[in-house]
């Protein structure tokens, strides 16, 4: 079942703060959010910064990329290379639980996170 949840768009940082084809972590309402600038595809993604495998605040420092015929965008945890879909948050190569993803948009070079 899907429900529509109203989100508040919070300005978080400048688009130029996040390296092209890389990520950085932002502090949003006391939570650590990993923001990814997938410049190669012209896409932006946001997920929790915590890798569920060893409970480390690290995902923003992971390498991003894609996998499969659908080119599913993903991020790899630097510690033990667990990979997670940037679209759904699902773990793609192990049994870890899925990570939280957040709505994200960029307007006038400002990055906004959709906060529920």
């Amino acid at each position: 079942m899907e429900t529509a949840v109203a989100v508040t768009w919070l300005p978080v940082c400048q688009a130029t703060d996040i390296p092209a084809d890389g990520g950085a972590c932002a502090l949003v309402e006391g939570e650590q959010v990993a923001i990814f600038n997938f410049a190669r595809r012209g896409e932006w993604y946001a997920t929790q910064n915590l890798c569920p495998h060893k409970q480390q605040m690290i995902l923003a420092r992971g390498l991003i990329g894609s996998t499969g015929e659908t080119c599913e965008p993903k991020v790899a945890c630097p510690y033990h290379k667990r990979t997670f879909s940037l679209l759904t948050g699902e773990c793609l190569n192990a049994d870890e639980c899925a990570i939280q993803t957040y709505p994200i948009k960029v307007e006038n070079d400002v990055v906004y996170i959709g906060w529920a």
Partner: protein
């Protein structure tokens, strides 16, 4: 659960779950649920009371046969619509499938037999002849992180079978296999705590595969001697059911490889849905695909990853010939998709091996250690390691290290490579720490890079009464010559001043030992998980000759090894081994030595201290923060504990 595992297994599972902090109440009959308006307690038959906030009821399977009863169909004593082998109820025009159906006194609560029953009904409707003949209830699941599996007949006992039981209360592992009295066949078993062998054991039961002479190896693994490789997946019969969710056999998988060209798990899923249900068979499917390809004599190409259809060596040449200097250009010209965590650092390593440009210019393709120019440790802190070539350090430098480590509250330790590592640095402190270290005359130690780490040395002829030559000076010269050069994997080296070998040079990627007449050069040694002694490449040579051979050796390795392949493995895989390598490096049998020397000369010339570049560049410094929108805030989740008067990272 009592239908799946035996008493001893249950006890092991119970203690394993209790170790996780769960309290288990057994043999409790609930007399009533207490509370007013909301639940607050459970009252048991023995008079005891348990206070609770929430109650979750696991009701097992209860066949919904109300409609069938009203319709006058025959139902079982304890519920369930009675069906025959074609899934017909007592009224042959009505079928029942799934967990409402009672077949031969059994209710099946799993999805796979449900699918099977559906196929039987479809077959009947289409005038086919398929029948349902019961279903293997073997299953494997994870219970709050604990593996639990049972297969075949888990309970069969003497005289119909003999059991082999392995019980390790320390790590919470219980394994039982039941074998036929003649020791030839596996009949069933139970696995608690470690169910890795489940797939293979299930196949062994279902296909009546003859057991090896020591069936205990099935649950204990081969101990000592040669590992038994006979019982691999390729030895299964074609009718062996590999994916039980989708009923795919080994024969179907191998046919999909040979006839339909399905050579990846994803392609296989599209062909026959193997591995799309629970996914438990995916490792086996992968082995079957590779096994079939190998059996066909197919050339399994050693490509970087799904994005680059080239080996590292091929891509190295392509990027060189086409003068490509960025990852994006490499992907655009020779790759597909958007890259991944495998090809990004691999291409980064190739580009560094070609041009030795500053790696922080393309830091988003580097693994975290190379991205932050420090080694990430548990908890998200980094360690800092300045170069101390040859292990030589002055008293004033030692004091500087002490002062800086104290100022930034860092744990200090002497490493195996004869230098000092400082642990527990916050990412945002790294540029400040390095600014101070550089002021004291230090430079990056490249401990974070796949590059030359250290050249360890013994004290040599300057002090030692046995020393033949000055091993420290030579070690410093070698370390400074090759420092910062990126290679397929890290490289370690050592120089010993005499045959007593205090620098352990023969355990290194390249090692030098002084002789009466000059130096011996050894290559491709390795410590690590599989220690291997280095082999003599050239003996009794002078210093300049040794450096010339080393130049060629190192560049040949950089150009031809696979990603993350140490020199020892590289040599082991090389046709002709050390004799071939000696021919290439010493006798120039391929006629490439002049090129190799020119190429490494370029890398040596382009050396820069990466930390100096960062410290002097405000834009680069800015990237060393935890929160991009709060650069001064350190990660609040990072915690340290204390041990022997210093800090240590918290266990994860």
């Amino acid at each position: 659960m009592p239908r799946q595992i035996d008493t001893a297994g249950s006890a092991m599972l119970q203690s394993k779950l209790e170790a996780l902090g769960l309290k288990i109440h057994l043999s409790k009959a609930t007399s009533h649920i207490g509370g007013d308006g909301k639940i607050d307690s459970l009252h048991f038959g023995d008079g005891s009371i348990l206070e609770v906030d929430m109650l979750v009821i696991s009701a097992g399977i209860r066949p919904r046969d109300e409609l069938a009863k009203l319709a006058g169909l025959e139902v079982g004593m304890r519920g369930g619509i009675v069906v025959n082998d074609t899934m017909q109820t007592s009224d042959q025009r009505i079928f029942a499938i799934g967990e409402c159906a009672l077949h031969s006194g059994m209710i099946y609560g799993l999805v796979a037999p449900g699918y099977d029953m559906a196929e039987v009904v479809v077959s009947q409707l289409l005038q086919g002849a398929r029948a349902f003949t019961g279903y293997d209830m073997s299953s494997k699941l994870k219970l709050i992180g604990v593996d639990v599996a049972s297969f075949g007949d888990p309970f069969i006992a003497e005289p119909h079978s003999r059991s082999i039981v392995f019980e390790d209360a320390h790590s919470g592992v219980y394994k039982r296999i039941n074998i036929s009295p003649d020791g030839k066949y596996l009949l069933g078993g139970v696995l608690i705590g470690d169910a890795e062998a489940y797939n293979m054991l299930l196949q062994t039961v279902n296909n009546k595969i003859a057991l090896p002479p020591h069936p205990e190896d099935l649950i204990l693994g081969a101990r000592g001697g040669e590992a038994s490789e006979g019982a691999g997946v390729m030895s299964l019969p074609d009718e062996a059911l590999v994916c039980s969710c989708e009923a795919v056999t080994k024969g179907m998988i191998c046919d999909a490889v040979t006839e339909l060209g399905a050579t990846s798990v994803d392609a296989m899923k599209k062909c026959n849905k193997a591995g799309t249900g629970c996914g438990g068979c995916v490792p086996m499917v992968k082995d079957l695909i590779n096994g079939t390809l190998t059996a066909q004599g197919a050339y399994i190409k050693n490509v970087l990853c799904e994005h680059f259809d080239y080996s590292r060596q091929e891509l190295f040449d392509l990027l060189k010939i086409n003068d490509i200097k960025t990852y994006s250009a490499a992907l655009d010209h020779f790759g597909t998709g958007d890259g991944c965590e495998v090809c990004k650092p691999a291409v980064g390593s190739i580009l560094a091996g070609l041009w030795n440009d500053l790696i922080v210019k393309q830091n988003v393709i580097q693994d975290t250690n190379d991205r932050y120019l420090a080694n990430i440790q548990k908890g998200g802190s980094y360690s800092v390691m300045p170069r101390m070539a040859g292990g030589e350090v002055s008293p004033s430098q030692l004091m500087a290290i002490g002062r800086i480590a104290e100022k930034y509250n860092l744990y200090t330790k002497i490493t195996g490579g004869q230098r000092i590592d400082m642990f527990g640095a916050h990412v945002s402190d790294l540029p400040d720490i390095w600014e101070e270290l550089i002021k004291e005359g230090f430079e990056s130690g490249h401990a974070y890079g796949k590059s030359l780490r250290t050249v360890k040395s013994c004290v040599g002829s300057t002090w030692c009464r046995y020393g033949l030559h000055d091993s420290v000076s030579f070690a410093i010269e070698i370390e400074n010559r090759y420092k910062g050069i990126r290679s397929p994997h890290k490289m370690k080296s050592g120089v010993s001043g005499c045959v007593r070998e205090c620098a352990e040079a023969q355990a290194k990627d390249f090692g030098v030992i002084a002789t009466e007449k000059g130096w011996n050069l050894y290559v491709c040694g390795n410590g690590g998980a599989k220690p291997q002694h280095a082999q003599l490449l050239a003996g009794d040579i002078d210093g300049p000759t040794l450096l010339k051979y080393l130049d060629r050796f190192m560049m040949f390795y950089i150009k031809t090894a696979d990603p993350l392949m140490r020199t020892a493995t590289w040599l082991n895989k090389m046709d002709g081994g050390i004799a071939y390598l000696r021919n290439v490096v010493v006798n120039d049998s391929l006629g490439i030595c002049a090129d190799l020397e020119a190429e490494i000369e370029l890398l040596i010339k382009n050396y820069h201290c990466e930390w100096k570049e960062v410290v002097e560049n405000p834009e680069l410094r800015k990237q060393f923060t935890h929160f991009v929108n709060a650069p001064k805030v350190k990660d609040p989740t990072m915690e340290f504990a204390e041990m022997r008067g210093q800090k240590m990272s918290k266990a994860w």
